[in-house]
Structures are given as C-alpha cells and as structure tokens.
C-alpha cells in the first residue's frame, strides 16, 4: 500500500524579503503576504470555529496581529507557521466565547485509546465520494469533522488538509511531537469510522443512509 504524499510547497525564496520590507513599514509587501495565506487562514479558522462570521473576524484579526507584532518574528520558523499559530489562538478564543459551557483547549484530556479503536471494518466502495453529489458530500464531510473535539480537529486540519509537517504543527500549536501524533491518529481513525457509515460497500438494492448527519 502506498503512503500519503505530503502536499507541502517549498516556501517562496523571497518571503523573508517581504517580511523584512513589511517590518520596515511597507504595507504593499505585507499585502502580498496576505494574498499568499488568506485562503489558508480562512480555511483553518472555519474548521476550528465552525462559524463563517467568526472565521472572517479571525482572518482580519490574525493578519492585523501579525502586522503589529512583526518585530517579534525572528525568522527562526517560517512566516506561515508563525501566522498559523496566531490564527489558531484567535480561532480558539472565539470558539471558547461562543461555547463557554465547554472548555475548549488544545491540552484537553484525551480519552482512552478505546475511543479510536475501529469498530467498523467494512470495506468502502472503490470511489466512495462518487456515490454522492457535491452538495451531499460537502454536508457529510462538514458534519463529520464538526463532531470531532476541537483539539483533534485542529491537528487534523493543519497536518492533513493544510499539509504542515508534524514539527510545524507542534510548533504552531505549542504541543509536543508525540502529542501531535497521538491526536492525529485518533482524529484520522475517528473520521474514518464516522465516514464508513456513508462510504461502505453496499449490497445491491441497499439504500444510502438518510441525510448528511455523520455524527454517531
């Protein structure tokens, strides 16, 4: 079986020059950095907050915070990793505000291994996503990932959707590398388990499950 190929692009070589120019007060240089990463920040923010308005606010606040704290960026990490760290903190803050009844923390106690042990081992159809139209698939994927704890969701999005390395994810979230790996494994297994309900190979005549509710 082949392994997952990372979707990591090499950072543009002129990025440090843009950061230096922005530090010196060149807003156009900073605008170029916004153009490079605004889509990523929006996606991360919406995955964490699960709310469109909050995600819009996170994009604005994260870039403004980055701009006003550029002098603190030492260039030891990539600018993008530094920016993601700011954006994740902003997003978690908004999530906590919206759901004060639930503690939202990246350090939250993770349950025992049992919560991730696969119970559903039915094989999937060869092209499972093609069983659904675009809107149905979107609904299934959104609802399914919404059901994960914020700490798992965040690690999965940074590693598997945005393509950050384990080390970069650990740095952006201020977690240890074993903690990133442990959350990533559980996130992947839980998503797999939940998606199995929709994607498993069906016998002839068997119906698709109703609606797009992936939470079990």
């Amino acid at each position: 079986m082949t392994t997952i190929q990372p979707k990591v692009e090499a950072p543009p070589t002129d990025e440090l020059a843009l950061v230096q120019a922005a530090k010196a007060g060149n807003v156009e240089a900073f605008e170029e950095l916004v153009r490079r990463y605004d889509r990523n920040v929006f996606r991360i923010a919406q995955h964490i907050t699960q709310n469109r308005e909050d995600a819009e606010d996170v994009v604005q606040d994260a870039f403004l915070k980055a701009y006003s704290n550029l002098h603190q960026f030492q260039g030891q990490s990539k600018f993008y990793t530094w920016l993601v760290r700011i954006a994740v903190n902003e997003a978690l803050m908004r999530l906590r505000r919206r759901r004060p009844e639930r503690m939202v923390s990246l350090d939250e106690e993770v349950k025992t291994e049992e919560d991730s042990l696969p119970r559903e081992v039915a094989d999937w159809s060869p092209n499972p996503e093609q069983q659904y139209n675009q809107a149905e698939l979107r609904e299934i994927l959104t609802r399914t990932i919404q059901g994960l704890p914020a700490s798992f969701r965040t690690v999965f999005v940074l590693r598997d959707v945005e393509g950050l390395s384990t080390e970069e994810t650990a740095e952006a979230l201020d977690l240890s590398i074993p903690a990133v790996k442990s959350r990533l494994l559980r996130a992947r297994l839980q998503l797999r388990e939940r998606l199995s309900r929709f994607f498993q190979r069906r016998e002839n005549g068997k119906q698709k499950p109703e609606g797009g509710d992936g939470n079990q």
Partner: protein
C-alpha cells in the same frame, strides 16, 4: 505483531515516517490481516477525501473585502 501494534504505528506508516524494518513488519501484518488492511486503506482515503474536498474556500468577493479592510487598518496602524 498484533492489530493494536499495527494501529499505533498507522500514522507513522501512512506518513512514511518509519524505518525500513518496521515498515516491512507492518506490511507483513497487512498481507494477512484483512481488517487492518481495510482500516489502513480507508484511513488513507479519509485523508485524501478531506484534502481534496475544497471545504471552506474563500469566495473572491469576500477575499477582496477582507484584504481591503486589513490593508486599510495596517495603514492606520502606521500613522
């Protein structure tokens, strides 16, 4: 190797972050354990489906609006 051992290495295996010897042991397990093969294959599909899903794309009009607001606030911050 037991299934639990395989699962604990699944993420490292999918990310190709293991040494050759461990990889060979895992693939040996995969060759005879159908359940682990299915879990491994469908976990990989899960990752690929999310990666290719284009969930939460930033619409171009909103993108322009946000960038304009950010740039304008950066200019005010400079003053």
């Amino acid at each position: 190797m037991k299934c639990a051992d395989f699962l604990s290495e699944l993420t490292n295996y999918l990310d190709d972050a293991i040494d050759e010897r461990t990889k060979a042991e895992l693939e040996d397990h995969l060759a005879w354990c159908h359940n682990c093969y299915v879990v491994c294959d469908t976990t990989k599909k899960t990752i690929e489906i999310y990666r290719d899903s284009q969930l939460y794309e930033l619409p171009e009009d909103l993108r322009t609006r946000l960038r304009t607001a950010i740039v304008s606030k950066c200019h005010s911050h400079k003053k």
